[in-house]
C-alpha cells in the first residue's frame, strides 16, 4: 500500500511538472467546464461550437482544453481547480450550478480570470455572461398561442432557478398577448440532462392534453416524443430540427462563439475586466432557428416580433402584468429592472403550476 502511495505521489508530481512545462509556452490556455457531454445536441453542444469558433478564430495563439460532464456540486469545484492548476489563463464555467464553485476557486487563484455563464455572483476576477433567452421564449409563446388548438402548452423545466422561471413567464406572456386565456402546464424534471426522464415528462404532459411542448432541459428526447405523438414543439439551446423535421416550430439557438472571441481578445490585449454581460437577440448571442411547420401569417408575426425586440421597441416584460395570484406586479407601460428579472422567483398570471420554493 505504501509503495502504491509513493508511486501515485511520484506520478502526480511528474504530471504537475508536465503541466507547468506546457504553460511556459507562449500559447494562452482558455479553458471550458461543461455540465453535459459536448455532443448532447443542446446546451453544452452550443458552448462547444462556440469554443471551436474561438479556436478557429485565434488559431495558434491559444489552446482550448475542456472538461465535459462535470456534475454540479462539490465535484465541480475540484474540476475547476484542476483546470486552474493546469495553467489556464481564462476559464469559462458554463452552467448555473457552477456558480459557487467558480467563486471559491477564483478566490484561490486571483491571477486567473473566470467567466461564469447565467449566474449572478461576480468578483474582481469573475465576470458573468448570459443571454436574454426570455426574448426567444416570448416569441415562442406567441407562436404557441397561434398554433395550439386547445390553448394549452406544456413546459418541461429543469430547476426552479430565476433563469428558468423567467423563461416560463416570458412564454406565458407571449402566449397571452395573442390569447388572454392561454394556459401553461409545467413539469419539473429536476435534471438538466436525462433523456429518459425528459421523455417521461413529455409523455406525462401530452397525456394530460397539451398540444404544444417546450423545454428547458438539454436533450432532444422531448422533441422526439412530440414528433412520435404528432404534436408541435420548440427546440432548446441548439437547432433540434433533425429530431423533429415536422415537429419543431423554431428553437432558441445559443450562439456563444462571438462572445468567446471578444472576451479572449480582451484577455490577450490586457483589457479584460470583470463585467456582468447580458446580451440578447440584437447582439446575436441568441438566434431563432428557422420558423418552420407553421402557416405564413404566423411566421410573419414571429418575424415581426423578433424585429421589434431587436430594435428595442418591444420588451417582453412590459406592464400591465399581474402575478399568478392576480395581484399587480407591473403597471401599464412599466418595465422591470434587469436585477428583478435575474432574481425572478414568482409566476405571472396564467401559469398553471405551483412554483417550487
Amino acid at each position: 500500500m505504501k509503495k502504491l502511495i509513493i508511486a501515485l505521489a511520484a506520478s502526480a508530481a511528474l504530471l504537475g511538472g508536465l503541466a507547468t512545462g506546457a504553460s511556459a509556452q507562449d500559447k494562452t490556455k482558455v479553458c471550458f467546464i461543461y455540465v453535459g457531454s459536448k455532443t448532447d445536441g443542446g446546451w453544452t453542444q452550443a458552448h462547444d461550437i462556440g469554443r471551436q469558433e474561438l479556436q478557429k478564430a485565434l488559431g495558434e495563439k491559444i489552446e482550448t482544453p475542456f472538461l465535459e460532464s462535470v456534475p454540479e456540486g462539490p465535484d465541480a469545484e475540484r474540476a475547476i481547480e484542476r483546470m486552474a492548476r493546469s495553467g489556464c489563463a481564462l476559464i469559462f464555467t458554463t452552467s448555473f450550478g457552477f456558480m459557487d464553485a467558480t467563486i471559491k476557486v477564483a478566490e484561490k487563484f486571483p491571477d486567473i480570470k473566470f467567466e461564469h455563464a447565467t449566474g449572478f455572483k461576480a468578483a474582481p476576477n469573475v465576470a458573468t455572461y448570459n443571454s436574454r433567452f426570455y426574448e426567444g421564449r416570448y416569441i415562442q409563446g406567441q407562436i404557441a398561442a397561434k398554433m395550439s388548438k386547445k390553448g394549452l402548452a406544456g413546459y418541461i423545466a429543469s430547476f426552479p432557478i430565476p433563469e428558468v422561471v423567467m423563461g416560463i413567464n416570458a412564454f406565458e406572456l407571449g402566449a397571452k398577448s395573442i390569447n388572454p386565456d392561454f394556459k401553461l402546464k409545467v413539469v419539473w424534471a429536476n435534471t438538466w440532462f436525462d433523456p429518459g426522464k425528459e421523455a417521461d415528462a413529455a409523455k406525462a404532459l401530452i397525456d394530460q392534453g397539451v398540444d404544444i411542448l417546450t423545454q428547458h432541459t438539454d436533450t432532444t428526447a422531448p422533441m422526439q416524443v412530440a414528433a412520435e405523438r404528432g404534436i408541435l414543439a420548440f427546440g432548446q439551446a441548439s437547432d433540434m430540427i433533425a429530431a423533429g423535421p415536422k415537429t419543431q416550430l423554431t428553437a432558441i439557438v445559443d450562439t456563444w462563439g462571438a462572445y468567446y472571441i471578444k472576451r479572449t481578445n480582451a484577455l490577450l490585449d490586457g483589457t479584460w475586466k470583470s463585467e456582468q454581460i447580458w446580451d440578447g437577440l440584437k447582439d446575436g448571442i441568441l438566434t431563432m432557428a428557422p420558423y418552420t411547420n407553421m402557416p405564413d401569417d404566423v411566421k410573419a408575426m414571429a418575424e415581426e416580433t423578433e424585429a421589434k425586440i431587436k430594435s428595442g421597441e418591444l420588451h417582453p416584460f412590459t406592464g400591465p402584468i399581474n402575478k399568478q395570484d392576480g395581484s399587480p406586479w407591473l403597471a401599464a407601460g412599466e418595465k422591470p429592472e434587469d436585477g428583478v428579472l435575474l432574481g425572478m422567483n414568482f409566476y405571472v398570471e396564467g401559469v398553471d403550476d405551483k412554483l417550487p420554493q
Binding site: 445536441g41 406544456g154 402546464k185 440532462f193 433523456p195 421523455a199 394530460q208 422526439q224 405551483k354 417550487p356
Partner: protein
C-alpha cells in the same frame, strides 16, 4: 389516461428490471459487479450502431446483448482469472464504459434512431384495457417477463441453479464438491452483462430511440440497488422495478396535474419509497441473511 400512464411506467421500468435480473444472477454466483451502468451504456451504443447500419432493431437487440456480454468478459477476466478486487474493477468498468461508448457513439449523436415496434399478440391484445397494456408491447418487455420466470425456475428448480447458489454461498465447499466455480461464475457474469446490454438496447431503441452520451443517466446504479432491494429474488425485482417506475412517472403526472406539492420532494419520492419498502421487507434479519449470497464479492483462488 390511466392506460397511457401505465404504458409510460412499463417503458420506464423495463430497463431497470432487465439489468437488475442479470446482476441478480451474477450476485447469486457470488460475484459483485458494480459495472452495470458501464455495460448498459455499451449495450445502448452497440444496439444503436447495429440498428443504424442494418436498419433492423432486432439485429440491434442482438448487438446490444453481445456488447454487454463481451464487455462483462473483461470484468470476468480481471476478477475471476486475475483475482482483482471486484468493487474496484466494477467501478472501473462503469467509468470505462461511459467513456468508451462516448467515443464509439460520437458520430451517431443527433442521428435519427429507429424505434423498435411493438408486437401485437393476436386475440390477447383484444382484451379490454389489459390487452393494450400487456400484449401490445415490444419484444424487450416480453423478454423481461420471460427472464423473470426463466431465472426463477433456473435458480430454485434446476440442478444447475442449485450449483450456482451453492457457489454463491460457499465457493470453497462448492469447489470441494467438484463444481467448476470459475467456469460457472464466468457464465453468470456474462449473463449479467448480456442482460445489462439488453437493458441498454431498450434505452436506445425503445425508451428514447437516439444516441446521446451518458444516456443511461444512472439507471445502472438503480438496477444495482434493486437487487439488494429484492433480496436476491427475481419476482421482487419485478415488484421493485415497477414500484420505482410508477412513483417516478406518477410524480411527473402529479406535477402536470397541478398538485401543489414541492417538486423536489416529489422527485425524491421514488428513492424514499424504495428505502421505506426496503426497511419493511428487511425487518426479518434471518430471511434476509438466508437470501444474501454469503460469498458475495469475495475472491476465489482454487487450491490445488
Amino acid at each position: 389516461m390511466f392506460e397511457a400512464i401505465l404504458l409510460t411506467v412499463i417503458t420506464a421500468s423495463t430497463p431497470l428490471v432487465v439489468a437488475a435480473l442479470g446482476e441478480l444472477v451474477a450476485e447469486r454466483s457470488g460475484v459483485l459487479n458494480l459495472g452495470v451502468e458501464g455495460m448498459m451504456i455499451m449495450g445502448a451504443v452497440f444496439a444503436f450502431a447495429a440498428t443504424r447500419y442494418t436498419g433492423s432493431p432486432y439485429i440491434g437487440i442482438l448487438a446490444g446483448i453481445a456488447g454487454g456480454a463481451l464487455f462483462s468478459l473483461l470484468f470476468g477476466f480481471l476478477t475471476l482469472t486475475l483475482v482483482a478486487n471486484q468493487v474496484a474493477t466494477g467501478l472501473a468498468l462503469t467509468i470505462l464504459g461511459l467513456g468508451l461508448s462516448g467515443q464509439i457513439g460520437e458520430s451517431f449523436v443527433g442521428q435519427p434512431g429507429i424505434k423498435l415496434q411493438p408486437i401485437v399478440i393476436p386475440l390477447l391484445s383484444e382484451i379490454p384495457f389489459l390487452g393494450k397494456v400487456l400484449f401490445s408491447q415490444d419484444l424487450i418487455f416480453y423478454l423481461s417477463i420471460a427472464l423473470i420466470i426463466g431465472i426463477h425456475w433456473f435458480l430454485f428448480r434446476s440442478r444447475a441453479g442449485l450449483k450456482l447458489r451453492a457457489i454463491g454461498d460457499n465457493h470453497g465447499s462448492a469447489h470441494a464438491l467438484g463444481i467448476h466455480v470459475i467456469r460457472m461464475r464466468y457464465l453468470a457474469v456474462m449473463f449479467g452483462g448480456a442482460c445489462a446490454g439488453l437493458a441498454g438496447a431498450q434505452l436506445s431503441l425503445v425508451y428514447t430511440p437516439q444516441w446521446v452520451e451518458n444516456m443511461s443517466a444512472g439507471r445502472g446504479w438503480i438496477a444495482l440497488a434493486l437487487v439488494v432491494f429484492a433480496s436476491w429474488r427475481p419476482w421482487r425485482v419485478l415488484a421493485g422495478g415497477y414500484l420505482f417506475g410508477t412513483v417516478t412517472i406518477g410524480q411527473l403526472h402529479a406535477q402536470a396535474f397541478g398538485i401543489g406539492v414541492p417538486t423536489q420532494l416529489l422527485s425524491a419520492l421514488p428513492y424514499a419509497a424504495t428505502i421505506v419498502v426496503l426497511i419493511i421487507i428487511s425487518h426479518n434479519r434471518r430471511t434476509t441473511l438466508i437470501n444474501t449470497p454469503a460469498s458475495l464479492g469475495k475472491p476465489f483462488v482454487p487450491d490445488r
